[in-house]
């Protein structure tokens, strides 16, 4: 703990932490010291020399940005000499700075002219200084660089290096002729992935964002709206710039968790879909196979009548609902209330079933809690990070910035993935296990930990159910997983397994990030049991900077289950069978307790199966696109055809909406108030920024309307805030949260009362199990039930890329995101490619007994021999035509990551220079 010291600035006594930066302290005190190279997020640079001050510790002038304060420091920030010196420096800068200004960026330099009495036209300036040096780079899809505006402050370089961990920018040339280059010289050919951190930190408009530059005028911005990014589960806080009712810019919101101003390319440039001309603007009713515009009254009347008819004819269990992790907690809460009270069933689910269901199942068995145990910020400060089946740099780019910053400080990183991911560049060990062999690999690691006696005995004794004796069954199973045996199953060299085991076990603190690669397998639940076992025997959970974390894929995948969209749980993870809770709900919902079903409902894939079997007849879908995201799509399509009535409410005419009987126009994230819950259980505000297009309505209001037309009252709410109040009343983990409390910062649940600050790390004192202890559940490796065969010799893995998102409904409506990659491909190992005589970029047909698709072939050692990888975003090459619906028996998740396939040439060779992945990695 650093001590507090006192210093004097301009005769005023100030208390500060020893060693803190003087310029930062002074600015916090409201003392106006200029400084263009300084940014509080960056290490001090000392380049612009504008923050000159005088101190009692040095002769002459010192630079405030370069002083670490200490006891007794006395500072003068303003006198005649200081002002003259700063003025001189500004005049010097003026000679190399082109003063043209177009009101599309914040100009910190220009804002100093008036204060220091500088008339840029009168003084010796850029035009007649002789320095007038200009170099431009317009090649990037997201930004332009103009060296004549550049004051060489290093902020963009440091933004790229220190904040985002990308190390792409640097100076070329020297002195007055130096200029910024990306990579080896051309922005678009560099590894730049368009996050725009450099744009946000540029103080002079040398780097300005390209999209909407012709429209945006900062002086004409009507309002700035702070809200939560609608893409992945990091929950970045964004600052939307609204001009004439349109979003023209999205900046990272500074000084606010979890992202502190950082964004990725999607958060900064992925908002154009909101104003897409393809947005749904009217209710549509399918008549003779064609959608016809309808009034709300017409559509709602039809829906109410048909839903009621099906319920009357087939009973409540003939109904089901798919909700959406893209919608707010308020939308989802109303959705589950509607399904439970109006449909009278628990048949509801959403994408979480296809995502982390197995992770949650395993974690609930062991800890009785399925959420991430740590905060996103912890990813920077733990000593060792074990990232498995999680392409964190592309799928959770801002969490990954913390990881990269940690790596720069010496954090050990173990990557476990059958496919190369960009994090491998930062890793100490990469375990490239064959697909489907994770339990064997982890048992091999546990074998070494047990053998080397690197277990945490005290932790096991005090925190694990059964104490040290609970380790014995695990020891018995892992006995046979010698490094040699494990290498044989997984293909990972034994020395790497050894290194990973010892690195993880010996680290003082360690965290696990586990992704779809682990969960979307037939043995998904077992995979996570193994991870938990590794955690428990080494005591790497239940302490600060230790724990297991499933970074959530969707913006609100966490929240939707938190507020009760689940066939098994009411809001707050209370089982549907819990009578006491049903009574509480019945009182809150003003219905007899019998009205609330205690029968566990059907999950995602079970709903499809039941539809196929003719048991489900009516389906209500809010914002979900199962005809792209579900496994074994041909089967799913057949099931949908058997449904009598499908209603879809969405913002676009998705693949699923096309199959609906009625389509209702809903609202995007930018058009409504509410909350999302991010990956680290942080409840974050969503705020209305623009109006909905046409006759579109907020999702929760549409659901209320349907209930009203069906004559089933499900409550009265004026706004989303009121809905949240009800959520808080029935959801113990969120009881202390309200929209009001979330105004400045998010709050991490559990937050049991209004005075509770929220919980950054779970399980610090005990696990929320009956006896407070965690369970070791030893599991053995099971051979995958689908194997490569002569007919289908390649095992296909699927995943995401940085610049596209899930079924791409939103992301592909943004030209900027598409510029970084908008085409399906399959990656195959060179040896396998040679066997079939394939060439790079060749068009290929990929198929198996379930379906087929066409795509383009990339040849790369990113994948193991005998394995292949495809991104699954692209509707024209539906990867899920090939996947299976043979699910993990414990969690009912589908094994998206393992499908035996065959690849055949379509023999139309085509040269294309598109990048292999979102960040241009092409190894």
């Amino acid at each position: 703990m650093k001590e507090t010291i006192s210093l004097i600035i301009d005769n005023k006594k100030i208390l500060a932490t020893d060693g803190e930066n003087l310029l930062k302290i002074a600015r916090e005190q409201g003392i106006d010291i200029p400084g263009l190279c300084f940014h509080e997020k960056l290490s001090p640079t000392g380049a612009c020399r504008l923050c000159s001050v005088k101190t009692n510790k040095a002769k002459g002038l010192s630079m405030a940005c370069s002083i670490s304060v200490s006891e007794g420091l006395e500072v003068i920030t303003l006198d005649e000499e200081i002002v003259e010196n700063r003025r001189q420096t500004l005049l010097h800068l003026l000679t190399e700075h082109n003063p043209d200004f177009d009101d599309t960026y914040l100009d910190e330099f220009r804002s100093l002219f008036k204060q220091y009495e500088i008339n840029p036209e009168k003084e010796k300036n850029f035009i007649n200084s002789g320095i007038s040096f200009k170099k431009e780079d317009n090649s990037s899809p997201v930004l332009t660089y103009d060296s004549s505006k550049c004051i060489r402050c290093f902020r963009c370089i440091k933004a790229c290096t220190e904040i985002q961990g990308k190390n792409i920018l640097s100076f070329a040339d020297r002195g007055t002729e130096s200029y910024i280059v990306a990579g080896t010289g051309i922005w678009d050919e560099s590894e730049c992935d368009g996050c725009g951190e450099c744009i946000q930190l540029c103080p002079t408009g040398a780097i300005v964002e390209k999209p909407h530059r012709k429209e945006i005028q900062l002086s004409k911005i009507d309002k700035l709206v702070k809200t939560t990014c609608p893409y992945c589960g990091v929950g970045c806080q964004i600052n939307l710039h609204i001009q004439n009712g349109k979003i023209l810019r999205s900046n990272g919101y500074e000084n606010c968790s979890p992202n502190y101003g950082r964004l990725c390319v999607k958060g900064r440039f992925g908002y154009d879909f909101v104003h897409s001309p393809e947005r749904l603007t009217n209710p549509l009713i399918k008549k003779d196979g064609v959608f016809v515009k309808a009034s709300w009254d017409e559509a709602l009347t039809l829906i109410a009548a048909t839903f009621s008819k099906i319920i009357n004819q087939y009973g409540n269990e003939a109904m089901a609902g798919y909700s959406s992790a893209k919608c707010t907690n308020e939308d989802n809460y109303i959705f589950q209330k509607f399904i439970r009270l109006v449909f009278g069933t628990n048949n509801m689910d959403y994408c979480t079933r296809l995502c982390h269901a197995s992770t949650v199942t395993a974690m609930i068995k062991s800890f009785n809690s399925g959420a991430a145990s740590n905060s996103i910020e912890d990813f920077e400060n733990t000593d060792c990070l074990f990232v498995t089946g999680n392409n964190i740099i592309e799928t959770h780019p801002i969490t990954a910035t913390y990881v990269k910053r940690g790596a720069a400080k010496g954090m050990k990183i173990i990557v476990c993935d059958p496919k190369w991911t960009p994090l491998v560049k930062f890793a100490d060990v990469w375990l490239q296990a064959r697909i489907g062999t994770d339990v064997a690999l982890l048992n091999g690691i546990i074998h070494i930990i047990l053998k080397e006696n690197l277990i945490d005995k005290e932790f096991i004794e005090t925190r694990v159910d059964g104490g040290l004796s609970a380790v014995e069954p695990l020891r018995k199973i892992c006995e046979q997983y010698t490094p040699e045996y494990t290498e044989k199953i997984t293909g990972v060299p034994k020395n790497l397994i050894q290194k990973a085991a010892i690195t993880f076990a010996k680290a003082k603190t360690a965290m696990i990030a586990t992704g779809m690669g682990m969960s979307q397998q037939k043995t998904g639940t077992h995979n996570v049991f193994s991870l938990i076992n590794m955690c428990l025997i080494t005591g790497k959970i239940g302490k600060e900077l230790c724990g297991i974390n499933p970074p959530r894929g969707q913006n609100n995948v966490q929240g939707a289950t938190d507020v009760g969209v689940s066939p098994l749980f009411f809001p707050g993870y209370i089982p549907v069978s819990n009578l006491a809770n049903r009574e509480i709900l019945a009182k809150e919902w003003k219905v007899p307790v019998e009205k609330i079903s205690d029968k566990p409902g059907l999950s995602t894939i079970e709903i499809v199966q039941a539809a196929y079997d003719g048991k489900i007849k009516g389906l209500f879908i809010m914002g979900e696109n199962p005809l792209v995201t579900d496994p074994n799509l041909n089967h799913t399509k057949d099931a949908f055809k058997k449904l009598e009535f499908i209603v879809v409410q969405d913002i676009f005419m998705t693949e699923t909406a096309l199959e609906a009987d009625v389509v209702l126009p809903a609202s995007s994230f930018a058009e409504k108030d509410g909350t999302f819950v991010n990956s680290d259980r942080r409840v974050l505000r969503v705020r209305k920024a623009v109006e909905m297009p046409g006759e579109a309505r907020e999702d929760w209001r549409i659901i209320m309307d349907i209930a009203k037309y069906m004559n089933v009252p499900i409550g009265k709410y004026v706004n989303a805030s009121e809905i949240f109040e009800e959520i808080a009343r029935v959801t113990p983990i969120m009881r202390g949260i309200s929209h009001e409390r979330l105004d400045q910062q998010g709050i991490q649940w559990p937050c049991p009362d209004y005075n509770h600050p929220g919980t950054p790390t779970l399980f610090l004192d005990e696990f929320p199990t009956e006896n407070g202890k965690a369970k070791i559940i030893a599991v053995d490796h099971i051979e995958p039930d689908e194997q490569a065969s002569e007919e289908y010799p390649i095992i296909l893995n699927s995943g995401r890329i940085l610049n596209q998102y899930h079924s791409a409904t939103m992301s592909r409506k943004n030209d900027v995101l598409n510029a970084y990659g908008n085409e399906s491909y399959i990656i195959l190992h060179p040896e396998d490619a040679n066997k079939q005589g394939f060439t790079e970029n060749e068009k290929v047909k990929v198929f198996n007994q379930r379906g087929s698709l066409e795509t383009k072939l990339y040849i790369s050692e990113q994948v193991n021999k005998g394995e292949a990888f495809m991104p699954w975003h692209f509707g024209e090459s539906l990867v899920n035509n090939l996947t299976r619906d043979s699910f993990d028996p414990f969690s009912k998740i589908a094994p998206f990551k393992l499908s035996a396939i065959r690849i055949e040439s379509m023999n139309i060779g085509k040269d294309n220079k598109d990048k292999i992945s979102g960040n241009g990695q092409n190894i």
Binding site: P44, G46, A47, R49, L61, L93, I131, F171, G175
Partner: protein, 407 residues
């Protein structure tokens, strides 16, 4: 040559670098052997008592630097030998490295032992190919003889040494810039403090010493501080390698006690002004140095006397101009040099060095602009980030002071 007081020179007699056996024969490694029998703090005391000051240009007391670096801040520490000799007119380190590589490496090993470092780097000017091969050979011989690596000379002390090549930047001779470069980054100066002794290479405590400084160390350890103090003056102890170039009969590198007069150096060592000419000016300390007029030819060449006369000893370079040479043109060369070498990181130096050259051009026909030249240089010196920006003022001010009418 009788006035040449020598500590280093006896080791410079070999033409093609030394070999380890002849170095040992001539008494080499005795300093190291004595040092390893002493406690690190005793060694630092000896260096402090000797009065040795940094020979790279700044003249900072070496013992103080070592003591600061020896404080137990970290288990990992580094010693760096600054062999990036780049000051115009300076070529002394080159001679030591080519002809007596063992001498300064011995000093470096002693330094490492004294501060508790187990890893060292020699950051050497990339163009010094002959020096590089001599050092490479010396390092490998020393490893073979158990004088580098594990258990040096049979002790538990471990020290590994590597060579890193500079890539032609003058600024990389500045110690913090050198450290940036050594870390694999572009050579930009760092904010100071923290000083290298606190947070240097990879943010670990680091001692940076010049080649010549280290070459003095074995003698001090072996013969004691008193023997060393017999050379030089009270505050400028020991000898110095002076590099005399320009309009002299016998340009070269000469070792002499600090405090020797400029006249002795020019006339007794360098054979006087070329073609019996008349001296016009002396530039001491290289481009980052000062002009001395012929009227001060009897000045004592030690740190303090020069400083009192607003001049600098710097690296020991003395560039001699006879009275036919133009001070104006020579100043222009210096200013062109600084514009070219300014790294561009800080505003005053990047733009100021450009301005200096522009103003200098104007001065040719408009001598009334000279005050502007000095004003600009003073602004740069006051505001710049690293010592480079503090350098142009030295030559400008001394030229204008001593040659107001003749420039």
């Amino acid at each position: 040559m009788n006035k040449q007081h020598t500590i280093i020179s006896p080791f410079l007699k070999h033409e093609d670098g030394d070999n380890i056996s002849s170095y040992i024969e001539s008494g080499g490694f005795q300093g190291l052997k004595s040092a390893l029998m002493l406690s690190p703090s005793k060694i630092i005391d000896l260096i402090t008592e000797s009065g040795l000051r940094g020979r790279g240009g700044a003249g900072f007391p070496t013992g103080v630097k070592w003591k600061y670096a020896s404080q137990p801040r970290s288990e990992i520490k580094y010693v760096i030998c600054n062999a990036d000799e780049g000051e115009p007119g300076t070529f002394k380190d080159k001679l030591i490295m080519e002809k007596a590589p063992y001498l300064f490496i011995e000093g470096m090993v002693i330094a490492a032992y004294a501060i508790g470092a187990s890893k060292g780097y020699i950051y050497i000017r990339g163009e010094y190919s002959k020096s590089i091969s001599a050092i490479q050979k010396a390092i490998s011989e020393m490893y073979n003889h158990g004088l580098l690596g594990e258990s040096i000379a049979g002790n538990s002390f471990v020290f590994d040494l590597e060579i890193m090549l500079g890539a032609g930047s003058y600024l990389c001779g500045e110690e913090l810039t050198l450290i940036e470069s050594l870390e694999g980054k572009r050579g930009y100066p760092r904010i100071k403090p923290p000083f290298p002794a606190e947070k240097g290479l990879f943010l670990k405590p680091t001692l940076v010493n010049n080649v010549e400084t280290l070459a003095n160390v074995p003698f001090i350890i072996q013969s004691g501080p008193d023997a060393y103090r017999k050379f030089g003056t009270e505050k400028s102890a020991g000898t110095k390698l002076f590099c005399i170039s320009g309009d002299v009969e016998k340009p070269g590198c000469f070792e002499a006690s600090l405090g020797i007069s400029l006249r002795e150096l020019i006339y007794d060592f360098a054979g006087g002004i070329k073609n019996n000419g008349t001296p016009g000016a002396f530039l001491t300390g290289g481009a980052a140095g000062t002009f001395i007029p012929p009227s001060l030819i009897d000045i004592r060449m030690d740190y303090d006397t020069l400083q009192m006369n607003n001049a600098t000893l710097g690296s020991g370079a003395i560039i001699v101009l006879d009275n036919t040479k133009s001070i104006y043109n020579f100043l222009g060369s210096i200013l062109r040099f600084f514009k070219h070498e300014s790294c561009g990181k800080c505003v005053p130096c990047r733009i100021g060095c450009y301005n200096l050259l522009k103003i200098w051009e104007q001065c040719k026909d408009h001598p009334e602009c000279y005050p502007d030249l000095e004003k600009e240089a003073a602004y740069i010196a006051k505001t710049s980030l690293c010592p480079l920006g503090q350098s142009p003022i030295l030559s400008i001010k001394s030229a204008l002071h001593h040659f107001k009418h003749s420039i």
